[in-house]
């Protein structure tokens, strides 16, 4: 422990703590625009400067560790002056279109200017030029609004190991972006949107689909259906004043109905369907490995996360055969809505307009992939992020808090607990094992094997006993599974697998930290506290479901009876499975 003094108050803090963290624990707020908990301090914005007695210059508190007897002053006249000058300089070159900016009212630069009481900017200078990049289907960048804090660089390189963004050029000319200041589509960006989720200002956000959805809703001939991913219900409330972790499933359904959707369905239904297909695919792969000796079909990787899928497409072509061929629940839903459901209504696929609400920006990319037209037309027509849905609810004048709780529609609105937990890291694996274990042994999966923690890589083993006769070749086999979230962790896991240090049967990867609940389209700002709260909400929804295994979903059973036949049938292959593309990384 180290004895320090902050604003003349005495504190004992662990050695190695930064001044910023020590102050936070002491209940003193030091503002910052670039610091992100859990990542290496960047030290770019200089907003967090403080005065330390005996040190001539002000120091950046985010990157200065405490020392014995350090006397720190966080809000002296000198500090206030410096902080204000820094923010005024940022404002002087910021392309301040606050009134029309997507971040108006929730911009960190805007609120910091308010917090510091800035009424006038004393510096006059050249403004950054507006430069819009909409080269990818998922993300929109405007380097004119960028304050060069480099948070996005940290998440893209350190956390996600993608490296699409990096500071280019120098000094005033600096652009935070892809190689040589070009468009995002010119570099291997997986479009996970973690940059958009962490950007303090309006420089990176999702491509807007709100107008397209209004247009569809305003066209009477359209039958507009909406599906909502599991992670939405655990986070949407945050946009309407509820604390993180508040489940708002019923109100969300009510709001969607009031927005004018003809049917409100659940992506979780498609998640249950995914487990039927993916679980069966896993069993087939086990058979190939253990009976036919084709060891290289294992491990199988999950394929629900489009950021992860594209990561493999860019960087690990040799692993593409190990990626489950199952489409993600979003795309399975679209294909089923435009075929099975359309038929029920005696409509053509093109008469149905499918909107999905996703915690994810990469889902916009996924929906736009050329091969995602199994129904003959685009399977998913528009993808809204959680933030965009909240905006629509506000525009429609719906008082979210006073809405009643309503139920999803049939037949694509019923789900089991297994479908719900798709929303958090470890959830797809757990859902798959609940079904696979029962298929193999006829018994319940002993204990939830992969707890919903935020450890970057989790592993579990399940030894199969009393296996049913048709699976006897698996008797006594210990299934080894692993779960990674955040692409940086996924990369570590891949390296361990490729080096032969680790062997698994089945691996789940979600591109975003925490899984979908921490997706790039979720309400800002997501830190570990918020992630854990959202995971707890998902677990609560799972625990409250009468049915908790995908194969028990009666509507999924009905879908197989009436339409698909059985998992991996010919029709399933056409509608529910896909193929991947080896993309050039540079």
């Amino acid at each position: 422990m180290v004895r320090i003094y902050i604003n003349d108050q005495e504190y004992d803090v662990p050695a190695g703590t930064t001044i910023l963290c020590a102050a936070k624990k002491a209940g003193i707020r030091i503002p910052t625009l670039c610091f992100v908990e859990g990542l290496r301090p960047i030290g770019a914005c200089r907003v967090c400067v403080v005065e330390v007695e005996g040190v001539r210059n002000l120091v950046a508190s985010c990157s200065t560790p405490v020392a014995e007897d350090m006397r720190i002053h966080t809000h002296t006249a000198r500090v206030r002056r410096a902080r204000r000058a820094v923010v005024e300089l940022l404002l002087s070159e910021h392309n301040g279109e606050c009134q029309t900016c997507e971040r108006n009212g929730q911009c960190e630069l805007q609120s910091l200017a308010a917090e510091l009481g800035i009424r006038e900017v004393s510096y006059r200078g050249e403004k950054a030029r507006k430069r819009i990049d909409i080269s990818t289907p998922a993300l929109q960048r405007d380097s004119g609004k960028c304050i060069k804090c480099r948070r996005c660089v940290s998440v893209c390189n350190e956390m996600q190991h993608v490296g699409a963004l990096f500071p280019q050029f120098r000094g005033y000319q600096t652009i935070i972006g892809p190689a040589l200041g070009r468009d995002l589509a010119s570099v291997p960006c997986v479009q996970c949107g973690q940059c958009a989720a962490i950007c303090p200002v309006g420089a990176i956000s999702e491509r807007d689909h709100v107008e397209a959805v209004w247009a569809a809703l305003d066209t009477p001939e359209n039958h507009v259906v909406v599906q909502t991913a599991p992670a939405i219900r655990a986070a949407l409330g945050e946009c309407f004043g509820y604390p993180p972790g508040t489940l708002v499933t019923g109100k969300m359904v009510a709001a969607l109905r009031r927005l004018g959707f003809d049917a409100v369905f659940d992506t979780n239904f498609a998640a249950d369907l995914t487990i039927m297909e993916e679980g069966t695919e896993f069993l087939m792969r086990l058979r190939k490995a253990y009976v036919e000796g084709q060891q290289d079909v294992l491990p199988m990787f999950t394929s629900c996360s489009p950021g992860w899928v594209q990561y493999l497409e860019f960087f690990h072509h040799n692993l593409l055969p190990n990626l489950s061929t199952c489409r993600s629940p979003q795309q399975m839903f679209g294909a089923i809505a435009k075929t099975y459901y359309a038929k029920k209504l005696d409509k053509r696929p093109e008469d149905i307009f499918v909107v999905s609400v996703m915690p994810c920006t990469a889902k916009k990319f996924e929906a736009s992939r050329a091969e995602m037209n199994a129904s003959g037309v685009r399977d998913v027509d528009a993808v809204l992020t959680t933030r965009e849905l909240a905006r629509m609810i506000r525009i429609a004048g719906i008082d979210f808090q006073s809405l009643p709780d309503e139920e999803m529609d049939a037949p694509l609105g019923l789900c089991t607990g297994a479908g719900v937990i798709f929303g958090h890291t470890g959830g797809v694996m757990e859902a798959a094992l609940r079904t696979v274990y029962e298929v193999l042994t006829g018994e319940d999966l002993p204990t939830p094997t992969l707890l919903a923690t935020l450890d970057g890589i989790k592993e579990a083993e399940i030894t199969l006993k009393n296996v049913r006769p048709e699976w006897s070749f698996l008797e006594g086999v210990t299934l080894r599974v692993a779960v990674a979230h955040g692409l940086g962790n996924a990369e570590k896991l891949i390296r361990a697998i490729e080096a032969g240090e680790r062997q698994y049967h089945f691996v789940e990867v979600m591109a975003c930290p925490g899984g979908c609940i921490g997706g790039g389209g979720q309400p800002r700002f997501t830190d570990n506290r918020v992630r854990l709260a959202r995971i707890a909400a998902i677990r609560k929804e799972d625990a409250g479901k009468p049915l908790r295994k995908s194969h028990q979903n009666p509507q999924v059973k009905q879908l197989y009876e009436e339409f698909l036949g059985e998992p991996l049938s010919e029709r399933s292959h056409k509608l529910l499975h896909t193929h991947y593309i080896a993309r050039e990384p540079v």
Binding site: G163, R170, A179
Partner: protein
């Protein structure tokens, strides 16, 4: 970087004025990358060597470097565009540097620069279409008594007058046909 990792002959690589084929240059780069592949902190030395090989840093070379050193292209170009030493535009056979240090500046360096831009039809940092000349500025060559000064390749030209420039440039234009002077 360990000394033995430095391949012989790299720094005396042929300059842009000699007729070395693209293919040969990329073969040289491949050799360099094989040597430096697993050396930490190799990026900047590799970029320096590559610039010696090509006379500038072509994008194709940057992509090869990124792939070989297992770094994102954005990081590689981030470093390249940060340091003014690195150049992504092909250099001409002759490098003209105009001194804009204090002495040269007050004694007409600025006018000399303007005249050169006009004469060559290019801006600072650019290269003429015939790849004869590249133009750059410097901050004091240590020859203040001779101001204003310009350097063409390794030659220092003192007390330069705007009116002399066309003839001066002509000398170099002639040279490139007969010799391989850099």
């Amino acid at each position: 970087m360990p000394d033995d990792a430095k391949p012989a002959g790299v720094f005396s690589a042929p300059c842009a004025c000699q007729e070395v084929s693209e293919e040969d240059r990329y073969a040289q780069l491949d050799d360099i990358l094989r040597t430096y592949r697993n050396i930490p902190g190799a990026l900047i030395p590799v970029l320096q060597i590559t610039q010696t090989i090509f006379g500038y840093l072509p994008e194709k070379a940057l992509r090869k470097i990124a792939a070989a050193l297992n770094k994102p292209l954005s990081e590689v170009t981030g470093v390249v565009t940060f340091y003014s030493f690195f150049n992504t535009i092909p250099r001409g056979r002759h490098m003209i540097r105009v001194c804009l240090g204090t002495a040269c500046y007050v004694r007409g360096g600025k006018q000399v620069l303007a005249a050169l831009k006009e004469e060559l039809g290019i801006d600072v940092g650019e290269t003429t279409a015939d790849r004869n000349f590249s133009l750059d500025v410097g901050r004091c060559f240590g020859a203040c008594g001779l101001a204003p000064v310009i350097m063409i390749d390794d030659d220092v030209h003192q007390r330069v007058k705007v009116s002399q420039l066309p003839r001066l440039l002509e000398q170099y234009r002639d040279k490139q046909d007969t010799t391989s002077k850099t």
